[in-house]
C-alpha cells in the first residue's frame, strides 16, 4: 500500500529465522517473548521488512545456538546489482 512512498530497495540481508523457529515449534509470539520484542517485530524481521540491530541479531543467534552468519546472510552485493 505504502510502497510508492518508501521506494523500498532490494533486501540486502536474508535470514533463516522462520525456518529455525519452525524447527523448534515456536510461534512468533513465543519467539518475540524470548527476544523481548513485539510479535510485529519478529514478523517484520522474518519477512525482511526490518533488519535487526546488531545486538538483537546476536541475541537471535544466542537463542538458536548458531553463529550469526549462519542465520543472517549478507546479500548486499547482489542487491546493489539488482537495484542498478
Amino acid at each position: 500500500m505504502s510502497d510508492w512512498i518508501w521506494q523500498e530497495a532490494t533486501r540486502a540481508v536474508e535470514n533463516r529465522i522462520r525456518a529455525l523457529r519452525g524447527e523448534r515449534g515456536w510461534s512468533q509470539g513465543e519467539l518475540a517473548k524470548q527476544l523481548r520484542v513485539s510479535r510485529q517485530t519478529v514478523n517484520a524481521i522474518e519477512t525482511g521488512r526490518y533488519d535487526p540491530s546488531l545486538p538483537l541479531a546476536f541475541k537471535v543467534a544466542r537463542l538458536f545456538e548458531q553463529r550469526i552468519e549462519d542465520i543472517f546472510e549478507d546479500r548486499a552485493d547482489e542487491a546493489r546489482e539488482e537495484d542498478g
Binding site: L35, S38, Y50
Partner: protein
C-alpha cells in the same frame, strides 16, 4: 537489548498506550471546554489565565504517559515512531501552508491557533498508519 524496557508490575504496552489515549482525550476535552468558557463571558485576568491555561495540565499528563509508553517500545517500534514523526512534520507543514494561503485569499476563515493540535494529531495518525503498513 535493554532489559529496562520490559513492563513493570505486570503493566503491558497496551495498558500504557491506553493511558496515553486517555490523557490525550482528556487534554482535547479540556482544550475544547476551556476555549468555550473563554469566549462565553468576560473573565478577570487571574481567572481568565487559570481557565486559559488549565488544559496544559492534561497535556503534561499526556507527556509523562507517552514517555512511560515509549520506554517499552522495542527497536523497530522506535524506528516506526521516528518515521511517523518525520512524515507527520511534513504533513502538518503542508496543512499549515495550505490553510495559510487559503486564509490570504479569504477562502478559509481565521482559525484558532490553539486548534493546531488537530492538524498535528491528524497528521501523526495518518503518518503512523502509513508506517505501520510498511512493516506489516
Amino acid at each position: 537489548m535493554d532489559e529496562r524496557r520490559q513492563p513493570e508490575r505486570g503493566e503491558s504496552c497496551r495498558q500504557r498506550s491506553r493511558a496515553v489515549l486517555a490523557w490525550s482525550l482528556l487534554a482535547a476535552g479540556a482544550l475544547i471546554v476551556s476555549s468555550m468558557l473563554i469566549v462565553s463571558r468576560e473573565w478577570g485576568t487571574g481567572l481568565g489565565l487559570v481557565i486559559a491555561l488549565a488544559p496544559v495540565l492534561p497535556f503534561v499528563g499526556m507527556f509523562f504517559a507517552l514517555r512511560r509508553s515509549m520506554a517499552l517500545l522495542d527497536e523497530m517500534q522506535r524506528k516506526m515512531q521516528l518515521e511517523a514523526l518525520a512524515l507527520c512534520v511534513v504533513l502538518a507543514s503542508v496543512i499549515c501552508v495550505v490553510v495559510g494561503q487559503l486564509q490570504k485569499l479569504g477562502i478559509a476563515s481565521e482559525l484558532d491557533l490553539s486548534m493546531g493540535w488537530v492538524a498535528i494529531a491528524g497528521s501523526y495518525i495518518a503518518a503512523y498508519l502509513l508506517v505501520k503498513a510498511r512493516y506489516r
